[in-house]
């Protein structure tokens, strides 16, 4: 049993090492963002896409056309008037603004990215399987994999620790206060 759990623990840890490191690093950035500000700089790109003129009246189809051109993103906002159509599309780290005028056969896509540190920050916040961009739903499955994997790493690690008599006593001295105080804080803050 110990050998099996040790292999599961090793395999999970190795498979998820990069994902968990990115989660840890981006959390570190969020908690100490003053130290990373110099690395976060806006960069803009603008492209024109040829689209059918009637896309002006079909914003969701326009978003799909933008995605098909390789500029993917989740459609988060549609602003429409008689003179212009503006779509906001988001990927983790990149915000796209798609604008189109009535009667024109083109849409302008302006993309803003703030670099890899910011992208990791946004990846940390992205989750869920409800997105209209299939790539973000794929990411949602990856988040689920990392989350379940992290819990399994904890469970297998705890089991292996318990079987190692040498580390049990000091481990208990660390685990019991941390778990009791932590759980108490979770309950107390919720109750107040």
């Amino acid at each position: 049993m110990y050998k099996l759990l040790r292999d599961v623990h090793l395999g999970l840890g190795l498979f998820l090492a990069v994902g968990l490191f990115v989660y840890g690093f981006s959390a570190l950035e969020m908690g100490h963002n003053f130290a990373f500000k110099w690395m976060i700089k806006e960069r803009w790109d603008k492209v024109e896409l040829q689209v059918p003129p009637d896309s002006f009246h079909k914003p969701r189809e326009l978003a799909q056309l933008v995605r098909q051109s390789g500029l993917h993103g989740d459609l988060t906002q549609i602003q429409s008037s008689s003179t212009s159509l503006t779509l906001s599309m988001l990927t983790p780290g990149t915000r796209r603004t798609v604008t189109m005028q009535p009667g024109e056969a083109k849409a302008v896509v302006a993309s803003m990215n703030k670099g890899p540190i910011w992208t990791m920050n946004r990846l940390h916040h992205a989750a869920g399987l409800w997105h209209d961009d299939p790539r973000l739903n794929a990411w949602g499955w990856f988040v689920l994999l990392c989350s379940v994997g992290l819990m399994l790493l904890g469970a297998t690690g705890t089991w292996m620790w318990w079987t190692r008599l040498k580390e049990r006593r000091l481990g208990m001295m660390l685990m019991i206060p941390a778990t009791v105080v932590g759980s108490a804080l979770l309950v107390l803050i919720r109750m107040s």
Partner: protein, 197 residues
């Protein structure tokens, strides 16, 4: 050296296991919680409190005075950039904490405070708690203590990855299946991150 790293790996695991378990639970919850844009609005609990406004106060001073007067548990003061007034001239104060938002309208002419408490559900409470970091946390003892624990858990998570890789390389690096797993996982993780961004 290997024995020392192994002990650090084990002891930090048992010490920070609760926070890491919470990180996992929050990830699972966030996967199935649905779109925040389609979530029903949180129903607020409304109450009115008597309060006499000092006419000499600036908006930031008034915000601080209301914060001290209401003494809402585990919320942060309203930063100056978030102060706003409605068309009727009432100052709006949004106090955020792990349990949700408390919105206060300062009705200066009536000498009243309209307090609307929007308490979030358990899932969003846990999301807020997993993201509770010292830099942004409300300055109450319980939240600060919890935030310190979360902050240390983040370092522990990074430490697990590094020490885990070290232990693998130091003791079991010849395992072919482990090498394949590491390469597959790393390439797959980086590929999906690049593809999704």
């Amino acid at each position: 050296m290997t024995e020392l790293v192994k002990k650090l790996h084990i002891y930090s695991g048992v010490a920070f296991g609760l926070a890491l378990f919470l990180f996992g639970v929050v990830g699972v919850y966030a996967t199935f919680a649905g779109s925040p844009r389609e979530a029903p609005p949180v129903q607020g609990l409304r109450r009115v409190v008597d309060y006499t406004v000092d006419p000499n106060f600036t908006d930031p001073q008034l915000a601080r005075a209301v914060f001290d007067h209401l003494n809402i548990p585990h919320v942060a003061p309203v930063p100056d950039y978030a102060l706003a007034r409605n068309d009727a001239g009432e100052l709006r104060l949004d106090f955020y904490g792990p349990n949700g938002r408390t919105r206060v309208w300062v009705q200066e002419k009536a000498n009243k405070l309209e307090v609307i408490e929007e308490r979030n559900d358990l899932g969003h409470y846990l999301i807020n708690m997993h993201a509770s970091l010292l830099l942004h946390a409300p300055r109450t003892f319980a939240v600060m203590l919890w935030s310190a624990y979360v902050e240390l858990s983040i370092f522990a998570l990074l430490g697990f990855v590094i020490s885990g890789l070290y232990l693998w390389l130091a003791t079991r690096r010849q395992l072919r299946w482990a090498q394949v797993t590491f390469v597959l996982g790393s390439v797959g993780s980086i590929a999906i991150m690049v593809w999704v961004t």
